[in-house]
Point group: C2
Chain length 347, copies 2
């Protein structure tokens, strides 16, 4: 049933030319006569020939495949990032291996090895927590361009594309301060990522420049997910001197914080100001609409893919580090603090 594939030789034979000519037609070479081209193309259509890119890759020792490894596809930020990459990768005639590491360094290593065996021309990696620069050493040494996105990887000879976490967080907190908030929390995330560290630094600096002393009890760690946001609020309400607003590590945490506040009988955006980070697609339609720092994940994915393709085509291995600017999008979830609200009553 799986009868022998029709190959370039079959086409050549049927069209009365040599396989070299067919190959030339296939790659759109200007060397071939117009009439011959037409003839060959019609035979190709007639026999239902499908190009064997694997054979071509073997001969040329370069492929049209890029690898993309993302740490958590179920987080819409990363899903959108992947969609952005997909867009430019596909339209450049490439195809992508897309894998999900699920924050596991082991799994990440495996999929990268597998992609390497399959001959990727380049890799875009959003590293799993705990990834080390040496993990990428062999890949990089073999001359395959690598672009690291979202989280950085100090010490690795790779190009990186990060968002301006520090400035974004600082702008968000400044805004909360301008609304009159003075006890502001930072919710979600763990110490081990650079993203967390940078956003926290922005948060701290904004407080300091406003003359507000930083209270470390208001920095509440939790998983960087919706469930983590709920958990953070549960711990927040146990504090004696509660915040009236919070910057969240990302939008997922922010949504969880809203959920948690409601469970605690607090209306997000009224009794408590919530600001997210990322500007995921749902941020706009949520109720209350989420004030957040827009990172444009899809656009970031596109830029990352463009950067990678550029490096693949250039062949050179000079690294480039880009920081994409972010902007605060003010919506409803960051309310001004309410005097004598139930939070203050509780305190």
């Amino acid at each position: 049933m799986t009868r022998a594939r029709t190959t370039v030789v079959d086409i050549a034979h049927a069209a009365g030319v040599s396989k070299s000519t067919v190959s030339l037609v296939l790659q759109g070479s200007p060397l071939v006569n117009e009439k011959t081209r037409e003839k060959v193309n019609s035979v190709i259509a007639e026999l239902g020939y499908v190009y064997n890119r694997g054979a071509a890759n073997l001969r040329q020792s370069r492929s049209k495949i890029v690898g993309i490894v993302v740490n958590d596809l179920t987080n819409s930020f990363f899903a959108e990032l992947a969609v952005g990459m997909d867009l430019v990768v596909q339209s450049a005639g490439y195809v992508q291996f897309l894998a999900h590491s699920g924050e596991s360094v082991d799994r990440q290593r495996e999929v990268i090895a597998s992609m390497r065996e399959n001959g990727i021309a380049g890799l875009i990696l959003s590293p799993a927590r705990g990834t080390e620069a040496v993990d990428l050493k062999p890949l990089i040494d073999s001359g395959i361009p690598v672009v690291v996105v979202v989280r950085n990887l100090p010490g690795a000879r790779v190009s990186t594309l990060l968002s301006d976490n520090y400035t974004g967080a600082r702008a968000a907190v400044r805004h909360l301060v301008s609304l009159g908030h003075s006890r502001i929390g930072f919710m979600g995330g763990f110490l081990d990522t650079a993203v967390f560290a940078e956003r926290l630094r922005g948060y701290r600096d904004a407080l300091l420049e406003a003359g507000i002393t930083v209270d470390d009890r208001l920095v509440i760690h939790s998983a960087p997910s919706r469930a983590g946001g709920v958990a953070a609020v549960e711990r927040m309400v146990l504090l004696t001197d509660q915040p009236t607003a919070a910057l969240c590590l990302n939008d997922a945490v922010a949504f969880g914080v809203c959920d948690g506040l409601r469970s605690a009988g607090i209306e997000p955006g009224k009794g408590f100001g919530v600001v997210g980070f990322d500007d995921v697609i749902e941020a706009k339609t949520a109720v209350p609409a989420l004030t957040t720092v827009s990172v444009d994940p899809q656009g970031m994915g596109q830029r990352a893919a463009q950067l990678l393709l550029k490096q693949i085509n250039a062949g050179g291995n000079e690294q480039e580090s880009l920081v994409t600017s972010v902007r605060l999008v003010v919506r409803q979830s960051c309310g001004a603090p309410v005097k004598n609200n139930h939070l203050e009553e509780l305190a």
Copy 2:
């Protein structure tokens, strides 16, 4: 800089054996002597050899690559579906091309063609709206197994894996009826998908068997997304005789409906019962926690991948159609109807 790849011949030379022996070692053949195997393996490690799967595929004319095409990766249902597939695909030693069609049939055609050129061993497809059975004809005729998931494709000679939309929708509506609701809406989705049709049928039958007449004005079409849910509520509040509850096409719509209700000053789960469909990961942590029909997207992805791998290994092309059972998960969002609530006041 990209110096010549080390190949099986280099290994053979360095280990003092023939390339055939190295090949045997590579595929873990029992034919090779233990000492030789060790020697070869150590040389492999030493020279940093990386296997060229492309060359192997060429020779064997079968690959370890599966294609996965999903219509909307930004919808968490599909993202989780993809993660489930990824899990089993990877651990079976395969690697996946994962592409996003964005509901575009053209784009879908392109990516499938591209995957075919790259020699996929099988395809899992969650078809874009408007996909026809003939679109897959050439692929199927070439003997490549195809598994269609989530949406079905009548007339195509493929295996399918669908969830039991009819039963799930009926169970959800029965539950709403048992809570005392009698005006129940159906929100989100368009007529052109089978998923919509089946869920709607389940909704209708449940109403009929409860002796409730079906009012077509309560079926409100909209995009199957969070934004679509918001839009549906906006249209709902214009009705003269409003529903007290709704079954939503999927969880994304249900979240949007909750958002829309809040904007309209109605508290989901209190003044209005909302039931979703899919049981996306956020359904549990949302506030109010979403009552929904659990489809277990990740598990479904796993089953789809297993089904495909089975067909790839069997080589036969007999199709199999599975319907995965679903169950209603009752949480907080489906409240009992409130007497004299503002909805009734409006009416």
